[in-house]
């Protein structure tokens, strides 16, 4: 679980200070696709608040976006297999695009959305590779 907390912290700080890429969205998308657990809602809510504070956005803006985005992702899980590369690519691309439009005044949103989708798909690939050594069990994903 500490691994998750550290990764959230790193992604939040990077997104708040050096890049406009929605690293937090990509991170939670990957976690939602792999873990499919409800604890991602409080985690994304709190992370969204921290990000809003650091970016001087109205508090709750990113939290709202993250909670709705993850809800839609998990809703898809009822109908389709979401643990596929095309789904992760498309979900991160569309999610990033909507995030950029919501936040406003971000340049090259199409290019950045593609970069986000590539990063997300690569990290999903890494997660799938790591899962061969049972990373899910090691960070407590398979409880219940």
């Amino acid at each position: 679980m500490w691994l998750i907390v550290i990764l959230i912290l790193i992604s939040t700080l990077l997104q708040a200070s050096v890049t406009t890429l929605p690293l937090i969205i990509l991170f939670f998308l990957n976690v939602a696709v792999v873990a499919k657990k409800t604890w991602i809602f409080p985690a994304s809510f709190l992370t969204g608040l921290a990000l809003d504070v650091l970016l001087l956005n109205p508090m709750g803006k990113t939290s709202l976006f993250l909670v709705i985005f993850l809800f839609i992702i998990l809703l898809y899980d009822k109908k389709f297999d979401i643990q596929t590369f095309p789904f992760v690519f498309l979900a991160s691309f569309i999610g990033s695009l909507i995030y950029f439009i919501t936040m406003g005044h971000i340049p090259n949103i199409f290019t950045q959305a593609i970069i986000s989708a590539v990063i997300s798909t690569l990290s999903f690939f890494l997660l799938v590779t790591f899962n061969k050594i049972h990373i899910k069990e090691r960070i407590g994903f398979n409880e219940g």
């Binding site: 809602f41 921290a50 809003d52 001087l56 709750g60």
Partner: protein, 264 residues
């Protein structure tokens, strides 16, 4: 089936909670707790930004030196121009470009949210000075007589600057050589667009663009004669009502770590 119900109820709980916080924040009820949280979290974000900035500066040290020299030369040209105008207009003391040091507030950049190194230039900065330091929305932010941007949001400890290259930035400007007046707008990349310049006005490539000044009675706004950049292209078509041009700043925003807020 049971799992789905739990899932939806948790979503609804956090959705409503986030909505309440967002509404309260929009109404301004959460500005104080937000300021406290910013104060607590910003050293971390500032350290990350400084680390990236350090590596970026290391890679561009030679270019950085040349840019500094270029800025110094441009400043000399501007000062010379200002002196000429002063002489011809005699008592026009307000034509000087230098800002009194008492009105300048040093601010450290703690974040550049819309910035991907090597991909997209920064469009806004977060600085470590807020309303507690008498920073107000609309204040100009400079670096060595070059306009960096304008304060667009401010709370107790922090402020957000929209850079001159940001699409949300626009201002009335003039050229140093002929005093031709136009309107400049950020384009989202490193460039700005100079527009609304009359066809009869004389503008050409390499002309230096300065602010015309739009301060109000409280001193809030852009002071005159701050450097915005130089013209790199001019579009003059007889069929158009106005001339257009592209302007680039002398500053490399990605390498800035400290800026100065002009406050009155």
């Amino acid at each position: 089936m049971r799992k789905k119900e739990n899932f939806t109820s948790i979503f609804l709980f956090f959705f409503i909670f986030a909505l309440i916080i967002f509404t309260l924040s929009k109404l301004g009820y959460l500005s104080f707790p937000a300021s406290i949280l910013q104060k607590a979290l910003s050293p971390l974000a500032g350290s990350v930004f400084s680390t990236f900035n350090f590596f970026s500066n290391e890679n561009n040290s030679a270019i950085g030196k040349l840019s500094d020299q270029n800025r110094a030369l441009v400043k000399k040209i501007i000062n010379e121009g200002a002196l000429k105008r002063e002489n011809s207009a005699l008592a026009d003391q307000f034509a000087t470009t230098s800002i009194r040091s008492q009105t300048l507030l040093t601010a450290k950049i703690v974040g550049a949210p819309s910035f991907i190194p090597g991909v997209s230039p920064p469009q806004s900065f977060i600085i470590d000075k807020g309303t507690g330091d008498n920073v107000k929305v609309g204040n100009a932010v400079i670096y060595k007589d070059n306009l960096v941007g304008k304060i667009v949001e401010s709370n107790l400890y922090f402020s957000k600057i929209d850079l001159i290259t940001s699409p949300s930035f626009s201002s009335t400007v003039k050229t140093l050589r002929t005093q031709a007046i136009g309107v400049i707008k950020g384009e989202g990349e490193k460039k700005m667009i100079l527009d609304n310049v009359l066809q009869s006005d004389d503008i050409k490539i390499s002309d230096i663009i300065l602010t015309k000044g739009d301060q109000d009675i409280k001193g809030i706004g852009l002071p005159p004669d701050l450097t915005l950049g130089k013209l790199i292209s001019v579009g003059k078509k007889p069929s158009n009502l106005f001339q257009k041009g592209e302007v680039v700043s002398f500053l490399d925003f990605s390498n800035l770590s400290t800026v100065f807020v002009i406050r009155y």
